[in-house]
Symmetry: C2
């Protein structure tokens, strides 16, 4: 089965990125021919979602290596500079650092000479994408295990942890795609997710595109929706998961988790293992990106008002029923990840 | 001291309504010469906020009586028809029904003949406004009693329960105006309040206009702001308060209350006594207005998506530290209101 979407794909001489800033009005692809364009695409949210950022960053390094080889420049130092640049684009998404670490490992491998290096980097970036697609399928499979056994299922999600946010399957939306594909009736409530409206723009677009019924609500409405028990479960994505399970995700997630707990509705996080950052002990240690006030005030904000615009919040582990990963539904202290910790 | 704002004022031959749909870009006043225009102004949110709606409705009945008298038509039946029309405009705001009940009482008073009636109705509408202004000043005074004793105070609010929502002082914002006027340093965090952005458009506009520092945040960010204990207290308004204290207010209020409870930050409701509806036992009995999907999807919603758009939610009484009214800071079972109950 092919993935429902292709948000980031390498072409012969460029990286093709589905420009998510233009959705849902227009389906536009960027053609990034150099690492600067990839970094700009990440920084300006043309590509967003932690796994998709990681994939784009890996290809950004590969692209820089290819370009250096073509120009007869030093491939290794060009690729290293590309990795340095990409590291500065978004501070919270751990997948970015994970993908770049993989690329650096190839770079640091003395076995590759300058001629082999571009090919080895390209293979590694391809592997980051292929593994993400396999991960999405596995998350879908494990996610289905937390659905009610039969009947129509209603799921609330926040932001966009869908195909667009990954190699193509998504994390939070992957089990929904799988349920729909198996013929099960599934309906989704999507928080619009201010300030950038990833819910009403992206989640609603990709689910509607796939023929799955989707209802958008303002972020402030999800607490009362949960209070009225109009949904069976909540699934959200994650940008970084600390060793104790505290989970950073799009601003507004914490409020949804509090309301779900109050209503007795299970709240799940779906994320690849690469989102776990076992070197970070607690949520309080996760750096939270604060973005510019114009995102909040653009449109109709009162002139003269200030704005506070954190991009993420941290949901404490105690509010989370389970972490749906490619290795199953995990719970702290995540013994399945002991190997990664030692790594 | 005059009120900081004049959102609804009767002029010689019309009702002057500050058109809140045009804020913050333009300060425009509607001149409503008949009850149909007043009803339209209420229905389309040109005037909004439960007390301001009540004032506008009272003047709408008075205006209909004046017009009928001028045209030589039956004043009593014209005023009754006006009241019937106004009752259909907004289903949740109890102040609307309270104000119209007062006008009907004047209408039903056999003592007034057709000549006296317009004057009596005008006097009653003037009384509704004057009492609201006195109420605002009293709420300000009692509200100050829940502020920390000294130092700068930081208050979070949701939607707009300010001067614009009332005769001119506001409810949730009244203590803030009073604190500022007394020279105390006070800063406000205002939830933007989707879908209609009453926070970033109206609360931010009127506080900035009054010289009070205001910081806007998306609704999803207030839970983490509270979790980080960046505010001293929360004050919100109310659209209807049930006998047990369950409080209907703008959608998103319930999520703020849950987060405040979790952080141990006191959450207050500020509202005139007229907002209490002792005939409604519990929050579950309060009818919740559902508005059209276009308010949520306008702008950048994905084509084909549905929307769920309740205008209000209900915050259970157990999450509320106190109800700041013109008679003091009350708590259930509200013995101070026993007289009203018998009424």
């Amino acid at each position: 089965v092919s993935a429902p979407l292709e948000p980031v794909r390498r072409e012969a001489d460029h990286l093709r990125i589905l420009d998510q800033r233009e959705l849902p009005e227009r389906l536009v692809h960027l053609r990034c021919r150099g690492v600067e364009e990839v970094a700009e695409a990440i920084r300006t949210l043309a590509v967003r979602g932690a796994p998709a950022i990681g994939i784009a960053a890996a290809y950004g390094v590969s692209l820089a290596a290819d370009n250096a080889a073509r120009a007869g420049e030093d491939v290794r130092s060009a690729a290293r500079a590309a990795s340095d640049l990409l590291e500065t684009t978004r501070p919270t998404a751990v997948n970015l650092f994970y993908a770049l670490k993989r690329m650096r490992r190839v770079l640091d491998d003395g076995g590759s000479d300058a001629e082999d290096l571009p090919r080895a980097l390209r293979a590694e970036a391809d592997a980051v994408l292929a593994e993400d697609l396999a991960t999405g399928e596995a998350i879908a499979r494990h996610g289905l295990s937390v659905f009610p056994e039969s009947g129509e299922v209603s799921v609330l999600t926040h932001c966009n942890a869908g195909g667009l946010a990954t190699g193509g399957w998504g994390t939070a939306l992957a089990p929904i795609y799988a349920a729909h594909a198996s013929g099960r009736r599934v309906a989704v409530f999507a928080d619009e997710t201010r300030p950038l409206l990833q819910g009403s723009r992206l989640t609603a677009w990709e689910l509607h595109h796939a023929g799955i019924p989707v209802t958008v609500l303002v972020d402030g409405a999800s607490a009362s929706l949960l209070g009225r028990r109009r949904v069976d479960l909540v699934i959200v994505g994650a940008d970084r998961i600390a060793a104790n399970g505290d989970t950073a995700n799009k601003i507004g997630t914490y409020a949804v988790a509090l309301a779900a707990r109050e209503a007795g509705i299970p709240f799940y996080v779906a994320a690849p293992i690469s989102t776990f950052d076992l070197a970070t002990a607690r949520g309080a240690d996760i750096p939270i990106e604060e973005r510019g006030p114009e995102e909040v005030l653009a449109g109709r904000g009162a002139p003269g008002a200030a704005a506070y615009n954190p991009a993420f919040d941290v949901t404490p582990a105690r509010l989370i029923a389970g972490w749906i990963t490619e290795r199953g539904v995990l719970r702290p202290p995540f013994p399945e990840l002991a190997e990664q910790k030692a790594d």
